[in-house]
Symmetry: C2
Subunit: 351 residues, 2 copies
C-alpha cells in the first residue's frame, strides 16, 4: 500500500497550521554528501567565564552588572530589535510601499547560573523555575503587548552567540507573520470542525503512536506529520490550554519532565549538545485577552538543523527558499529513531 512505499517514493504532505505543503523525498538520504561540514558544538564550556556577559556578577556591554543570581536571571536585551518608543510612519501610503509602526521590548533570560549546563542536564526543579518564569513573562508582558514570543536559539549553528543557557523574549504591538497564519488556520479549523485543531491532532497522534517521540499523562512530543526540518518536533499538552500561564502546577512539573526527556533524546542522537531553535505559540494577548480564543492550543515548536551527523545539517536553500520545503527522511523514520534512543543522557552515562 501507499504507506509502506512512502519511505521509497516522494509525496506531498499538508501542514494544517500553516496551510502549506512539504515535499517528502525519503530516497534522497542515499545521496553522498560532499558539501559544507559544520564545526561540532564546543563540548567543554567552562562553568564560569569572567569574560562571558551572561554569567552571574559579570559586567555586560552597556556597563550593567549582573546580579549574583542562583536560579533564572532576566534582563533587557542590550541590542533590542524592538523598542517601546518608535515613531509611527502614518497610514497614507502607496499599496506597494506600506509600512507600519513596530513597538515592543526584547529581554534575555538565563536559565541557570552555570554556563556548562543545558535544559536536558538541569535538575527537574530548575527547569520548573524556567517554566514559571516563562508563565510570568506571558502574564506581565501580555497585559501590554499583543504577542509575546519566547524563543531559544541553541548552538552556534543556530546563530547563538553565547554558550550560556538562555532564551529570549520579544514582545510586540503587532501579531507577527507566523502566529498570524497559525491563528487563521486554527480559527478556520475550529469553525469547520467544532474542536481545536491541535487538540484533535494530539488525540490522533496519541492513538497512532508512529510519530510519538515521548509522552506523559499530560504532554505529548511528536515529529509532526508535516515536519520540514529532519528532527523537528511539536510539544503540546493533552488538555485544552490557551497560554503557558494557564498551566497548573502539575502540568508544569510534567512539562519539565517531558522537556528533559525530549532534549536528552536530542542530545543522544549524535552525542553532542543538540542545536535547535525553539519557541512557544499560545493564544495572542494584549487586546486579544478579552476575545474568544477557543481555537488556540498552546504548543512549542523545536526546529533542529542537523540531518546526517553532528556536523552535516539540512540546508533550506534554493528550492526551499524559492519553491517549497523538502525533506530527506520521513517524519515516521525520524520519530522512530528518536523514540528508540536511550533515556539516559550520554554525558551522565559516561560517569
Amino acid at each position: 500500500t501507499f504507506w509502506l512505499s512512502s519511505r521509497e517514493h516522494q509525496h506531498l504532505r499538508y501542514n494544517p497550521l500553516r496551510d502549506t505543503w512539504v515535499l517528502v523525498s525519503a530516497h534522497r538520504m542515499k545521496r553522498p554528501w560532499a558539501g559544507q561540514v559544520e564545526k561540532p558544538p564546543e563540548e567543554h564550556t567552562p562553568r564560569y567565564d569572567p569574560r562571558n556577559p551572561l554569567c552571574p556578577g559579570n559586567t555586560r556591554a552597556n556597563g550593567e552588572v549582573n546580579s549574583d543570581y542562583d536560579s533564572t536571571f532576566l534582563f533587557e536585551n542590550d541590542f533590542p530589535a524592538l523598542q517601546p518608543d518608535a515613531p509611527d510612519p502614518g497610514s497614507d501610503q502607496h499599496p506597494l510601499f506600506q509600512s507600519k509602526v513596530a513597538r515592543g521590548v526584547c529581554k534575555v533570560m538565563c536559565f541557570h547560573p552555570w554556563s556548562d549546563v543545558t535544559l536536558s542536564l538541569m535538575k527537574k526543579q530548575e527547569v520548573v523555575k524556567v517554566i514559571d518564569k516563562w508563565a510570568e513573562l506571558i502574564e506581565e508582558l501580555g497585559t501590554t503587548y499583543l504577542w509575546v514570543q519566547i524563543f531559544e536559539n541553541k548552538g552556534a549553528m543556530m546563530g547563538c552567540s553565547n554558550p550560556h543557557p538562555h532564551c529570549q523574549v520579544w514582545a510586540s504591538n503587532f501579531l507577527p507573520n507566523e502566529p498570524a497564519l497559525s491563528d487563521r488556520c486554527q480559527r478556520a479549523y475550529y469553525q469547520k470542525h467544532g474542536e481545536p485543531l491541535l487538540l484533535q491532532y494530539a488525540k490522533q497522534e496519541a492513538e497512532k503512536k508512529e510519530r510519538v517521540v515521548v509522552e506523559t499523562s499530560d504532554w505529548l512530543a511528536v515529529v509532526p506529520y508535516w515536519a520540514t526540518w529532519p528532527y523537528q518536533t511539536l510539544l503540546l499538552p493533552r488538555r485544552h490550554v490557551l497560554r503557558i500561564n494557564d498551566l497548573t502546577t502539575e502540568e508544569r512539573e510534567g512539562l519539565a519532565d517531558i522537556m528533559k526527556q525530549l532534549l536528552t533524546k536530542y542530545d543522544n542522537l549524535f552525542e553532542i549538545s543538540f542545536p535547535y531553535s525553539m519557541g512557544w505559540h499560545g493564544a495572542p494577548t494584549g487586546p486579544h485577552l478579552n476575545k474568544d480564543n477557543s481555537h488556540w492550543q498552546l504548543h512549542a515548536h523545536y526546529y533542529p538543523p542537523l540531518l546526517r551527523s553532528a556536523t552535516v545539517k539540512k540546508f533550506m536553500v534554493g528550492y526551499e527558499m524559492l519553491a517549497q520545503d523538502q525533506r530527506d527522511l520521513t517524519p515516521e523514520q525520524a520519530a522512530e529513531k528518536l523514540r528508540n534512543l536511550p533515556e539516559e543522557h550520554y554525558k551522565t552515562r559516561e560517569n
Copy 2:
C-alpha cells in the same frame, strides 16, 4: 520626517508578493558579533579537477560519463527529489493527515566547462547561452509540468556541494508554496489595480532610484522595499514578460549584461565569490499555458546570506522561524552600498 528616522527606528514593511511583513531594525547593526564565523569561500578552485563529477569528460556517481562539453551541459540529477513515477496516495484522508502525489524531474545544468569561473566572470556571450538554455528548459519541461523551478545555490554556505558553476531545475506536477502564494498575491493586485503588481513596482522604483542597484534600458535590479536578507535583490524586465522563454534576443543580451553587473557588485562587496541562492519565478506552465496569466511578471530573486563580512552571515533563526523575518540594515542602506561599488570585478582589477 519618518523616512529620515527609519535608519534609526524600527518599523514594519509589507511584502505584497507574499502578503507578509518584515521587521526592520537598522539600529541593530551596532551590536557586537561574538557568534559563529563562516569559512570564507575557497578562492583557488582548479579549472579542471579529475575527481569533480561536474567537469567535462568525468564520470559521475552513477557511472555515466559527461560529454566533453565546451558551453553549457545538462543532465539528470543523480539523486532527484522528484521522480516521474511516484504512486498516488489517494484522496480519502483525515483533514489533519493529508498527502498528495508528487511527480517531476530534477536536472543539473553546468554553466561552463571551467570550474574556476562564475557568471560574473564569464563572457557576456557565454551568459547568453545559459539564458537561452533556461528558456529552452521552461519551454520543454513546461509542456508537461505545472511549475519549472530554475535555481542556483552558490557557495558552500548555501549548501552547494560543488564549486563548479551550475544551477538546478526541478519541475513538478504541483504549484509549490512560494509560487502559489505569489500567484495569489499578483492576481489579487491585478484585479484591484488593473495592472500587474511588479510592472507598477518596477516603474515606481525606476523613478524613486533609492533602492536601485543597477539598471539598463530593459532591466532593473533593486533591493526590494520588503527585502528580508541583508543584500537581497529582485531582478526584473521593464516590459511585461510572463516567462523567460518570452524574452527577445535583445532582452536576453540585456539580461546577460545586468546579471554580470549585479553579480560583480555582489563579488566586490566583500571581495569574495559572493554566496547566494537565486531562482526564477514566471507564470505557471503545463495546464496553465492556456489560461490568462496577465497578472504575472517574470522576475528573479537573489537571496545572499552574508551580513557583515565575508564570514559573518545573517541567521534566520529563533524569532524569524517562530515569528517574523527581521533585518538589521534598511533596504536603502543596502542598495546604496551595492550601487556605489566599482563596476569592475575585483579579480580582473588585480591583474
